[in-house]
Amino acid sequence: MPETLSQLLDDSVLAMPIAAGLIMGALTINVLMLVWAERKVSAWIQRRMGPTEVGPFGLLQTLADMLKLISKQLITPSNVDKPLFHLAPLLAFAPVIAAVALMPFSKSLILVQNDFGLLFVFAFGGIAVIAIFMAGWGSNNKYALLGAIRSVAQSISYEIPLILSALSVVLVVNAMGFTLASGGSIVVANGLDLSHIVMAQDQHGLWFVLVQPIAAIIYFISALAETNRAPFDIPEAESELVAGFHTEYSGMRFSMFFFAEYTNMLIVSMLAVVLFFGGWDGPVLPGPLWFFLKSYMVIFVMMWVRWTFPRLRFDQLMTFCWKVMIPLSILNLLATAFVVAVL
């Protein structure tokens, strides 16, 4: 059975659609679980129960919500910029799926092997910004526009510390080498290759969060800002802007933005696990299981932060990025470069 499946995937022209279908299925289940987890975690923090009715422990609640959203009428407000309005959800949706394909789930289980995996992930993240702005502008709605403006400014600004902190890890990986299991020769590690980053941590038994703690913290905060999560959720601030850039979207289109947001959360946490927490490294349990467990732990911390803090005002958010995060990440990078050069 596995042989025919892998033969099927390797040889036939159906490989692409099947792989795509598998990824979509996995991601959909993931989003369902994450939304359920969000509601449960927020409920427990707020001394409530969360969903309990639909399915055991309310597990099927998100499915019911998705079915409801799919069955809703697609309302297009008048005077919207039709191409932008219709294209935005799709453009928000597509890059995140592509980025998942690059993640190393275990030593051999990578969907797309690529020498520059890290760069690709960040590139796809950049496309999402365009989608947000298209949504805000195309909606012909002042609230949406305000939300889009804020979101775009926030995303572009926080990409910088995000990438700089990842670069620090790349420098460390490039300096280390590691031995491949077969062969036994020292391989010069390519820091941009995601599987190399994990293997370097695995071989030296040292998670990079211990080597680069500042980079880890900067990365985590920037990740919160990139995914528009509280305390950086000004673009979606319900109490100010109704719903920010996706105010005018209803039904399936809204669920696409929703899907994109939660998958984005998954990607940044998977990347955090790859960069700092050893990827699939771990005793006893199989690699992919550890990978997912660690990613979900990071997501849990993101949810915990969301329900604890109020939100930052927009100019405070930008000040924090440009005056604190970026200088700090540059200093970290310089220090890392210095240490790597000396040792």
Binding site: Q46, R47, L146, I149, E238, P310
Partner: protein, 378 residues
């Protein structure tokens, strides 16, 4: 430090276009039905104009068409969050005009009920203020505390929110040992909770960033607009009607009137938290000293005729100075009843306080003033 944002700092730029944004009357954040017409340049508010009147129910006209006793249930609907204070305040006003004696026990019960109402109003304000700022969790905790107060008052009055507990001369139902025990237990609980709110909320750096030096109301501005209540006390003026014109037994109790001088949102926040503690002190003293006795006078007139003349009576509600100006003409239907509500004057200071602030601060500032729209619209 002023609120004004230098033109270069705003995303829209100094000579960008001014566009208008309408917030409300239906809006996830505005407390009650308030419509704010904002003229914005980028993120900076150039001009803010509140539009009120969406919940105008003609209370003053109703007062002129009903006799004094019939108007009693209306009083707690004027400001439903301080319903007990308003209801008992109206009773005290008529008692003062007609010279009706209130028994000691009723006085103490009224003080306990008033202060419990004040705590519940401040707790609600605390939860919704943080909700507007994005911190959703404290809302559920403060409402949990508030539920306990509502249950306690429900036990004795029969209502959770809009009370008609007072009668001219006393209160309707007597309180029993269970009520006093529950209230004492509640005091212990809220004091512990205030410690938690202080650690997690008041010391939270994001909250402090959003509230310190935001929405500064100077002393001169507050006095000119007639702002009263915690907003006035945060701007440096020690004015509490319970101290300035003692009524209803407050002269017997020992409590402080907290005052701060910064006049910003953080100061108003701290004042309200301090007021919860002060109310706890008052309730404690009242429970300790409550005497036995009747709660209503034995003989009560059937009609309460207001002698000719003009009268003014003020109480301290959770929002400030609530005054009733009553004109009598010898019958039991007042010729005129004017309700001078604190939120009316507090909100009228908003256009000046909001000019030059950022959009996100608008929510914080209006929230920190603690307006209740039905009180403004009556």
């Amino acid at each position: 430090m002023t609120n004004a944002v230098p033109p270069e700092a705003t995303p829209g730029g100094g000579d960008g276009e001014v566009y208008s944004l309408n917030m409300g009357p239906q809006h996830p954040s505005m407390h009650g039905v308030l419509r704010l017409l904002l003229d914005l340049k980028g993120e900076e508010v150039v001009k803010a104009k509140p539009v009120v009147g969406y919940s105008h129910r003609a209370h003053e006209k109703m007062a002129e068409n009903r006799n004094t006793l019939q108007f009693l249930p209306n009083t707690s609907r004027i400001d439903y969050l301080s319903g007990m204070i308003y209801n008992l305040g109206y009773c005290q006003a008529i008692e003062k005009i007609l010279g009706i004696e209130v028994s000691e026990r009723a006085v103490y019960i009224r003080v306990i009920a008033n202060e419990l109402n004040r705590i519940s109003s401040h707790l609600l304000w605390f939860g919704t203020f943080l909700l507007d700022l994005g911190g959703i969790t404290p809302f559920l905790y403060s409402f949990d505390d508030r539920e306990e107060i509502l249950d306690i008052l429900d036990q004795v009055t029969g209502s959770r929110l809009t009370y008609c507990y007072g009668r001219f001369g006393g209160v309707t139902m007597d309180v029993d040992e269970d009520f006093l025990a529950r209230t004492t237990a509640f005091l212990a609980r809220i004091r512990e909770r205030l410690g938690m709110y202080d650690d997690l909320v008041a010391k939270n750096v994001i909250l402090r960033e959003r509230c310190i030096n935001v929405g500064v109301i100077s002393t001169e501005m507050a006095k000119s607009y007639g702002v009263t209540g915690p907003s006035l006390r945060a701007s440096g003026v020690v004015y509490d009607v319970r101290r300035a014109e003692p009524y209803g037994g407050y002269e017997k109790f020992d409590f402080d009137v907290p005052v701060l001088h910064e006049g910003d949102t953080m100061a108003r926040f701290h004042i309200r938290i301090s007021e919860i503690e002060e109310s706890c002190k008052i309730i404690e003293q009242a429970i300790k000293g409550i005497p036995e006795g009747a709660i209503l006078p034995k003989k009560m007139p059937k009609r309460f005729k207001i002698p000719e003349g003009e009268y003014y009576f003020a109480v301290e509600s959770a929002r400030g100075h609530f005054g009733m100006y009553i004109v009598g003409d010898g019958t039991d239907v007042p010729a005129k009843l004017k309700l001078r509500t604190p939120s009316f004057s507090n909100l009228s200071a908003m256009p000046e306080a909001l000019a030059g602030t950022m959009l996100a601060d608008t929510i914080a500032i209006v929230g920190s003033i603690d307006v209740v729209m039905p009180e403004i619209d009556r």
